[in-house]
């Protein structure tokens, strides 16, 4: 028992030290950001510290169960084929400490419209790893997460700290968190090219039990990017009557900063015949004048203790960045230039279906409870001011671009 207490005290000390250090780093790193964001960083750092040192012991919460998930994922659409494995492990070290480990691989084969119009198809891999630790003290859950993603031309590292607290007779859960990420960007075939960017995230949330069948949550997040935010391979096109094709290409130029704010409202409702209904709405805006809305409805229906059906419908819509254009009137037409279809005016619709099968204990590994799941999403993208340059019709009069994608996830989960 004394040893367990020592472990708990040690972990608590580590978390508090990590929070303090993170706060110091953020204070240093955010000098270039706006005054408002700096104040917000300090306020959240204070809140994190206050939650870390407070003791509210009435009825202790519990950590989630130990589990392993092994997944195969596949994305196919718009000339891109991405697939690979993923694994997520979660294990309690003590009743108050849990560790998580995550590995993810993207094996990419790309012949997308952007690539085909100005370059040639390519293949590449992206490896991602995450390590996390969770510490539960009474009703306060603290977590610290490290993440690394590695590609030939992109290396990203980030860490995040999150704290959540049950309060008001456990009817309310308050949460907040911070993240800092650092990215090194390279360009294949160009040894001199070397750029970097940083990302800062601040978030807060409240989850409220409203009735015995209904919960709702509100999450907000501010994100600030600083540095090289372009895609180093992409180009914009402009009218050039001096050449036979009538169209010239030049590199994209993005602003060096981007600040965004998102608000998400969610509700979960338990239906009288044992099924669950989910509703999500998010509003997003940023300093590039992109505004986006997405709404999602989900439905989960169990059939006995063996099968569970999931259905999903999601609609997303965004406006274009203020410096975006599909075709500029001439070279160097603006200070900032972008023809990235992700910054254009577009919408998409997702239809998703999933099935989970509970494997009988007698057939499960080590007689643990396990499940096999298969999920399929069909996404249809429609671009309103991005044209396919390879189409007929003449420069600027080609048909508007659109594509659909099939996303598949097959995974096996073991609870032990």
């Amino acid at each position: 028992m004394a040893a367990k207490q020592r472990v708990v005290q040690k972990v608590e000390k580590v978390v508090v030290v990590a929070v303090t250090k993170f706060k110091k780093i953020l204070v240093l790193k955010t000098r270039s950001l706006s005054m408002t964001l700096r104040l917000a960083v300090r306020l959240v750092a204070s809140l994190l510290l206050s939650l870390a040192v407070s003791v509210t012991s009435i009825q202790a919460a519990v950590l989630d169960k130990d589990r392993v998930d092994v997944l195969y994922h596949s994305y196919e659409g718009g000339g891109m084929k991405i697939d690979g494995p993923s694994i997520l492990l979660r294990k309690k070290a003590t009743e108050s400490v849990a560790v998580t480990a995550y590995y993810y691989l993207d094996s990419i084969s790309s012949a997308s419209v952007d690539v085909l119009s100005t370059a040639s198809a390519y293949t590449e891999e992206r490896n991602e790893g995450q390590l996390g630790i969770e510490y539960l003290r009474d009703k306060t859950l603290m977590s610290f997460n490290l993440r690394q993603s590695d590609e030939d031309d992109y290396f990203a590292q980030s860490f995040s700290v999150n704290v959540s607290q049950d309060t008001f007779g456990d009817l309310t859960n308050l949460s907040m968190g911070l993240s800092y990420g650092d990215n090194d960007i390279k360009r294949n075939g160009d040894d001199i090219f070397e750029e970097e960017s940083q990302q800062y995230r601040l978030r807060a949330g409240i989850n409220q039990i409203l009735t015995r069948n209904l919960t709702a949550s509100l999450n907000i997040e501010a994100i600030a990017d600083d540095g090289y935010l372009n895609n180093p391979y992409r180009t914009v096109r402009y009218i050039d009557n001096s050449i036979p094709s009538g169209v010239g290409y030049q590199s994209e130029i993005y602003p060096q900063t981007r600040n965004s704010f998102a608000t998400k409202l969610s509700a979960s409702y338990y239906l009288p015949y044992r099924a669950a209904l989910f509703l999500h709405y998010r509003y997003f805006s940023d300093s590039w004048e992109i505004k986006a809305n997405d709404i999602e409805v989900g439905y989960r229906h169990p059939f006995g203790d063996t099968f569970e059906l999931e259905l999903k419908l999601r609609y997303y819509q965004q406006s274009a960045a203020n410096f975006y254009s599909d075709l500029y009137p001439y070279k160097d037409a603006q200070n900032y230039l972008a023809r990235d279809k992700e910054l254009s005016d577009f919408d998409n619709m997702t239809i998703g279906i999933g099935i989970t099968y509970s494997i009988p204990d007698s057939l499960s590994y080590g007689h643990s409870r396990s499940e096999a799941s298969l999920q399929w999403d069909y996404i249809d993208f429609n671009y309103n001011n991005f044209r396919n340059p390879m189409d007929e019709g003449g420069v600027g009069n080609e048909s508007l671009y659109g594509f659909s994608a099939n996303v598949i996830r097959a995974f096996y989960s073991i609870y032990f």
Binding site: S46, D69, S143, S160, F168, I220, S260, A292, T356, F411
Partner: protein, 78 residues
């Protein structure tokens, strides 16, 4: 500045300690009335590994980001 941050932290810790006991509103859904909400089918994180993949797929294809309710941390893709 550190002094003010520490003061704010102590103040917030005190507020946290006192909790909501001073408010007149009492929790209206009792612990024994929460069995429906505790049903695994109501869990938003029922399949965490699948949720992470969904977020990753959308992150690279849409400009909107943040407030997903998870930890976040960026896509790391270009």
């Amino acid at each position: 500045m550190i002094k003010y941050t520490v003061k704010a932290a102590i103040l917030l810790a005190l507020i946290n300690l006192t909790g909501c006991s001073s408010l007149s509103i009492k929790p209206w859904v009792k612990p024994y009335e929460r069995q429906n909400l505790a049903d695994p089918i109501m869990s938003a994180s029922r399949h965490p590994i699948a949720s992470m993949h969904v977020a990753h797929v959308l992150d690279g294809r849409e400009a909107a980001r943040g407030a997903e309710g998870g930890e976040g941390g960026g896509c790391g893709c270009n």
